[in-house]
């Protein structure tokens, strides 16, 4: 995903990773051996790959955190298959992703395209828009939970807007709050992606369109949007992965409630493992999460032809 990085100095046209020196005979080049990779590789194996394998193993075991894990075969998976909360959580995860993409994408495209333009107040406003990125997810959730307290926050002052302020008491408003807070938090980030991409649209395209008499809307839809295609794909993939792994926002804002109405899969995993001490089931849910995330990414990558683009990027 190197594509996300803001433009750096242009890459050398000849690819040094592949390009064997033509004049190899003249000076023997010292090349780093495999040993250089070992510290990072071993470290990553230990703390990321080993746990990933362990999660597979644990999903076939039962363990309460007390005593030793025991093998139970497929029991966790069978339970999970018939678990209505699990199904609901998957459905909610998908809903969160769809709503997240649907709200963040248009706003960040608009803002990104605007921010790439020549307006005079652009720098100041962009700096303000950037501010939510300086806060952690936990801080943002705590901020909004405090602001939205029905009796002691903003809703108590603006009753005409919020009514009784029972935002966390209905599924629809609870989801709405989470989606809104996600939008508040992540739109600046996606705006940056679109801003970079919109800047690199060749001005000559707009000039040509102007000569053809195309209006602004037409220019936006027939030039800007198509030129942003790759950025849109990148940004949406990031939203999907981010949406699937949303955790502290749900924990702090709604705690999965009311009832289980905002219990998305990542939160359900936490609840099953660290509130019911059902670490085997928790692992099985975690695996479902990995499988779903990978499947969605793969489908999107295939469907969009993004893989071709990416493999060329990898060769950079």
């Amino acid at each position: 995903m190197t594509t996300l990085l803001p433009p750096r100095p242009p890459a050398a046209p000849d690819n040094p990773a592949k390009g064997r020196p033509v004049r190899a005979g003249r000076a023997r080049l010292n090349r780093p051996g495999l040993a250089w990779t070992l510290p990072a590789t071993i470290f990553f194996l230990l703390f990321a790959v080993v746990p990933l394998i362990a999660v597979v193993v644990l999903s076939f075991m039962t363990w309460t955190g007390l005593g030793d894990p025991k093998f139970v075969g497929l029991e966790n998976w069978q339970t999970l298959a018939g678990d209505s909360v699990m199904l609901k959580s998957l459905w909610l995860s998908v809903l969160f992703i769809v709503l997240g993409v649907a709200t963040q994408t248009p706003v960040s495209i608009l803002l990104g395209v605007w921010a790439s333009g020549p307006q005079r107040n652009r720098a100041v406003l962009s700096a303000i828009f950037f501010l939510p990125l300086l806060l952690s997810s936990a801080a943002i959730s705590v901020l909004w939970r405090a602001l939205l307290d029905p009796n002691f926050g903003v809703p108590a002052q603006l009753k005409w807007l919020f009514g009784d302020g029972n935002l966390f008491g209905h599924q629809s408003t609870a989801i709405g709050v989470i989606i809104f807070v996600g939008m508040w938090q992540f739109t600046p980030f996606h705006t940056l992606i679109y801003q970079g991409a919109a800047k690199s649209v060749p001005p000559v395209l707009y000039q040509a369109a102007e000569i053809d008499g195309a209006g602004r809307a037409r220019q936006f839809f027939s030039i800007t949007l198509p030129q942003l295609r790759n950025s849109i794909i990148t940004s949406v993939i990031l939203m999907v992965v981010g949406g699937l792994t949303t955790f502290e926002t749900v924990l702090i804002l709604t705690n999965g409630g009311p009832g289980t109405d905002t219990t998305i899969t990542a939160f359900y995993m936490y609840e099953e493992a660290f509130r019911r001490y059902n670490f085997g089931m928790g692992s099985a849910i975690a695996l479902v999460l990995v499988i779903v995330a990978t499947a969605i990414s793969l489908i999107m990558v295939k469907a969009s032809g993004y893989d071709k683009m990416r493999s060329t990027m990898e060769g950079l």
């Binding site: 995903m1 190197t2 996300l4 990085l5 750096r8 890459a11 050398a12 000849d14 040094p16 990773a17 000076a27 080049l29 010292n30 090349r31 780093p32 051996g33 495999l34 250089w36 990779t37 990072a40 590789t41 990553f44 703390f47 990321a48 746990p51 990933l52 362990a54 999660v55 608009l110 803002l111 395209v113 605007w114 333009g117 303000i128 828009f129 939510p132 990125l133 300086l134 806060l135 952690s136 997810s137 936990a138 801080a139 705590v142 939970r145 405090a146 602001l147 903003v154 980030f189 940056l192 102007e210 602004r216 990031l238 992965v241 792994t245 924990l251 670490f279 692992s283 995330a293 950079l316």
Partner: protein, 272 residues
């Protein structure tokens, strides 16, 4: 050049400005008001007097310690990343062995593992090596999960070093290590600062790993402190907002003094 103002974009920008700026304004305004003044005047009012009692409350409830812990975690994560990623990226860019290609592939696959997915065994692992409820227990996995992105970013930077420069080093008879220290590192400063900021953000903003892997007051980091502060003082809105604001200050400083590195580091966060 287009001169006609774009009304749609202008309206969208204004609305968004309100959405972003109002809560931030409430945060700043509330944090310098007393609780009574805040609830009497409402969140959108202009503070008429300044008080620092909220910040005192925040520090009284242990935030000084949390800041220190978070700083240590951040430094540890950055340290590990800066120690292991440059040699790896160097090997990926310059080595021609099949092994390194494989390892690069392996790290690319690692991009797909979310930390949520492995939190249960991580708890087991950290616990069985005796690191539960220690800062090191947070640092190690946080750093590990920062590796794939950092490797990708730094390899990208290192690829921009032209072969001619390597050849020149070889002609001078420089060893691999010398080439790495004298040529590769100095020319990768941009990438190094990006991965440092990325790693720092991972350490600074981490929530799930500290939530699961620590427990006591002496190992608490800011994000968890905020979470606990909220469950204890939830309706003390000025107090909470003061805490949130304080948690932002260090990152704000980075933003003011190293904007470019921060933006690039953030873009890396998104890559996760």
């Amino acid at each position: 050049m287009r001169t006609r103002p774009n009304y749609i974009a202008g309206a969208a920008v204004t609305v968004w400005l309100l959405i972003v700026a109002l809560p931030l304004y409430v945060m700043v305004a509330a944090s310098v008001q007393s609780r009574t003044e805040f609830s009497a005047n409402g969140p959108l009012s202009v503070p008429t007097s300044l008080t620092f009692e909220n910040f005192l409350l925040v520090f009284d409830s242990g935030f000084g310690k949390y800041f220190l812990n978070t700083f240590l975690v951040t430094a540890g994560v950055v340290g590990i990343v800066l120690l292991v990623v440059p040699p790896l990226s160097y090997a990926i860019v310059r080595s021609q062995s099949r092994g390194t290609t494989l390892i690069f592939r392996f790290f690319l696959l690692g991009l797909a593992i979310p930390v949520q997915a492995v939190i249960v065994p991580m708890f087991y692992l950290i616990n069985s090596v005796g690191l539960y409820d220690t800062l090191l227990g947070i640092i190690l996995p946080t750093a590990a999960f920062a590796l794939p992105i950092c490797t990708l970013i730094l390899s990208g930077t290192m690829r921009d070093i032209t072969p001619e420069l390597y050849e020149a080093m070889s002609v001078d008879g420089a060893s691999t290590a010398r080439t790495f220290l004298r040529l590769v590192l100095p020319l990768s400063k941009g990438g190094l600062s990006t991965i440092a900021v990325f790693a720092a953000l991972q350490g600074w903003n981490g929530f799930l790993l500290p939530l699961i892997l620590t427990q006591s007051e002496s190992t608490k980091v800011i994000t968890l402190g905020l979470f606990n502060f909220q469950t204890q003082y939830g309706i003390n809105v000025p107090g909470i907002l003061a805490a949130v604001m304080l948690s932002m200050v260090p990152v704000l400083l980075v933003y003011l003094f190293a904007r470019r590195a921060l933006v690039q580091g953030l873009m890396g966060v998104g890559g996760k």
